[in-house]
Symmetry: C2
Subunit: 478 residues, 2 copies
């Protein structure tokens, strides 16, 4: 128990220093390691296994909705990046430039892709000619680079992994449908797979993606009350199509511009998993993406029959869940702490007394509930329990978010909440950029989104007092 | 049939111009598209689906042999690249250099990884301390960049996709075992999944990887008689460990250097699939990685009951194979050509007469054999047929290779074969680098490997005539 205590003490408590707690968890749970490459992280096996499970689930959802994977070059010639004015203004300040290939200076600089709209546009212009070629529903899994000054593993790194969907459609309506469809895929994925409740909404013009007509977002709340933009879906209208000349001949033999979308989710979402579900003992992983869903810890494993039984259970359970047995010579207390730190959803303990009673003990990571289960009901009970853990985590996260969500009608109320609390603020907005800017300047809080589910908090803008019919969710963001 | 003919004629016959045939196939089968990024290719959905199937199968094999996936930064600081002398000499001339991040000039140049030994070494030095930390068996899926002057899709591009395994071990024996184990994984994968026969062997010092103690390779033969290095596995000994200071404390509490390996396979292997199996009608895909294993073409689909039957068959077959039905309004002849071009292993034809007889027609892509199958035996027959196609393709490729493999005892014989034939030449070598250089200079042929399966062609070196006990496979290489 001394060892166990030491391990737990090694994490800074959340309430003491949330940022340090985060850093402690990602290191102690072996998710990442730092490297000598400034601003870049090494994703270690346990962290990467989480990403693989995320990829697998998302990729299936993309394919079910008719998307195909492709791979574009990682470099973008400077002239290509410059073709869409808003887009280059948004990204040029934060890209890495390749100037030399081998011993030679390049005639044109190449940037390492910060996102691939320009490459996809060029490709679409080459392959789309007729209405018969539409829609094209593409996705790409890759890494992208954005030169960030201050970085934090998963949340903001110079290089990160993501997927970027890029689609072209014959009509504006189809593009809008696609934009919302993929936002819904992200929202459903977050709630049903990651147990993270999200708010779906539209970004204000100030916060939208460089070059987009409209940006939609899912916003989640971290344990410290800050918001994390967890996935975005953009409708480009025909802006990029006009800049890149992506046209098709319609059924009446007339030339039309295509309508385009893009949407992305990144390794950032692993930061959300950590900060939504984690606690002072470490990670708490949602069962549907946990690399290990259940860990078996034999108790008094030197006693006759214990290891054999543990192995038998592992073999049985490995047919239905991702299971690991730890029969190393560390003491059980140390192992308990270790797998709590790693956020394994269920711990199974089996010792001589359990074997005598033909039962095992299951312990939930999320709420530490202990459950005694007859051995012959094990598979069924474990499968059900994983679902219960998922539901429990989702509800807990929703309650946490709701308890940190406030409403403000007057500027004074807004400023007081922004100064004293950390969380979401619901307040009305007139739609004027000046008000948005002023709120940010005065309180440090930004508009997260205009939620699809609107509420009427009042009739007037929380900033200028003019008539307002948009409710905005405001918050400090990662 | 006119359309069909046109489509087929659009490919240059192999015997007329093999390079042009290759280019025609990859374009007509929609595998790749060119982009404005010099030397880089766009991998289109059909090409990427092949890569996904390769990845899935290889990844399972890596995990079964105990390996874990990780992700390293894509950049390598210049000073880190320079730590191992041979390695930097081999790679520095062909890397892309990032010199600016955003608006600022970097204090140290970063190269875009051409391979990640140096990053893994730095990481291993950080995380390996005791014999308890060993072995570390890591793999990474990523893209790498090598600045090539002349490029060809899949075979040689500035950027390509690959996996790179990197492992560290306590002893030289374990590292050697790992090196050979992974070579065998590659060889088995090529033969059992891609139907490509390979020759396993060791590279000469001249041809080994920059920084390796020993490089092992699998070599396959393309339809034009040229060799393609299809996968390599390197034993680094403790060379990198000494350069990067990767040490561990052994059981006797003494400091030891680790022993390291790396091994890689890339999208290049798709080039091998095309050039080993393809024919003048286009691609011939090995069934185990074909994105579509069977395509259903309804005949006289406007007639009553045909489409319904085709749909019923699709639904049945989709439970056991990757199936597609094409009920577009193109004529069957056009569809036949289209799916031949795309290399779909089996075509299923079903029309009114077949329905009457309660049968379907299966047509093999590899040898065009037609098989009539009773509808109620369909699933079994298709599954068996896919295996038969695989075996047939493997045997055909082996026969092709053997028919283009020659032996030479004297320099004159060697030169004559090299001048008149295209294929592998088996000949003895004394082990002297000078002879290897001279053979290359005189004939343009290089040593592919010293095969594990040695044969005694003669007693003396084919170049200098001195005693020789090594048989080398020589050939022109991609």
């Amino acid at each position: 128990m001394a060892q166990e205590k030491k391990l737990v003490e090694a994490i800074t408590p959340m309430n003491e220093d949330f940022a340090q707690w985060y850093t402690d968890v990602i290191k102690k749970a072996d998710l990442v390691e730092y490297s000598s490459v400034k601003g870049c992280m090494i994703i270690r096996p346990y962290g990467y296994a989480i990403w693989e499970n995320i990829q697998k689930n998302l990729d299936e959802r993309f394919k079910e909705t008719g998307h195909e994977n492709v791979y574009m070059p990682m470099f973008i010639p400077e002239s290509l990046l410059q073709k869409e004015k808003d887009h280059v203004e948004g990204f040029a300040p934060e890209v890495a430039w390749v100037t030399h290939g081998g011993q030679e200076k390049l005639t044109e600089r190449l940037c390492v892709r910060p996102t691939s709209e320009t490459l996809f546009c060029e490709h679409f212009a080459n392959i789309v000619h007729s209405y018969r070629d539409l829609p094209k529903l593409y996705n790409q899994w890759c890494s992208v680079v954005r030169w960030e000054k201050t970085t934090r593993p998963f949340l903001r790194t110079a290089e990160f992994l993501w997927q970027e969907g890029h689609t072209v459609h014959a009509t504006a309506e189809e593009a809008q449908e696609e934009t919302i469809r993929m936002l819904n895929v992200y929202a459903d994925f977050c709630e049903q797979v990651l147990a993270i409740p999200v708010i779906k909404g539209k970004k204000t013009d100030k916060e939208k993606f460089a070059g987009a007509k409209e940006t939609y977002t899912i916003e989640s709340m971290m344990h410290d009350g800050k918001a994390l933009q967890s996935g975005t879906s953009h409708n480009f209208g025909d802006g990029f199509a006009r800049a890149f000349g992506i046209q098709y001949t319609d059924k009446n033999n007339e030339l039309q511009y295509v309508h385009e979308t893009s949407w992305g989710m990144s390794t950032r979402i692993i930061g959300a998993i950590i900060m939504v579900h984690g606690d002072d003992s470490g990670l708490v992983l949602p069962p549907r993406i946990a690399p290990v869903q259940l860990v078996i810890i034999p108790i008094a494993q030197h006693k006759e029959g214990v290891l054999e039984k543990a192995e038998e259970l592992r073999d049985r359970l490995s047919k239905v869940v991702r299971v690991k047995m730890d029969d190393s010579d560390k003491n059980p207390g140390w192992k308990f702490s270790e797998y709590e730190m790693r956020g394994v959803p269920i711990r199974l303990e089996v010792g001589p007394k359990d074997i005598e009673k033909n039962q095992v003990v299951l312990v939930r990571r999320d709420n530490r509930e202990k459950i005694f289960v007859p051995m012959d009901e094990l598979e069924d009970r474990v499968l059900r329990l994983l679902d219960e853990v998922h539901e429990g985590m989702l509800e807990k996260a929703r309650n946490m978010r709701d308890s940190k969500t406030y409403t403000a009608v007057t500027p004074e109320e807004f400023e007081k909440i922004a100064a004293e609390k950390s969380g979401f603020i619901k307040a009305m907005w007139c739609g004027d950029r000046a008000c948005e800017d002023m709120i940010k300047e005065k309180t440090g809080v930004t508009s997260r989104c205009m939620p699809f589910e609107q509420e009427k908090i009042s009739d007037s803008c929380v900033c200028c007092g003019k008539p307002a019919d948009k409710m905005v969710i405001w918050g400090k963001a990662y």
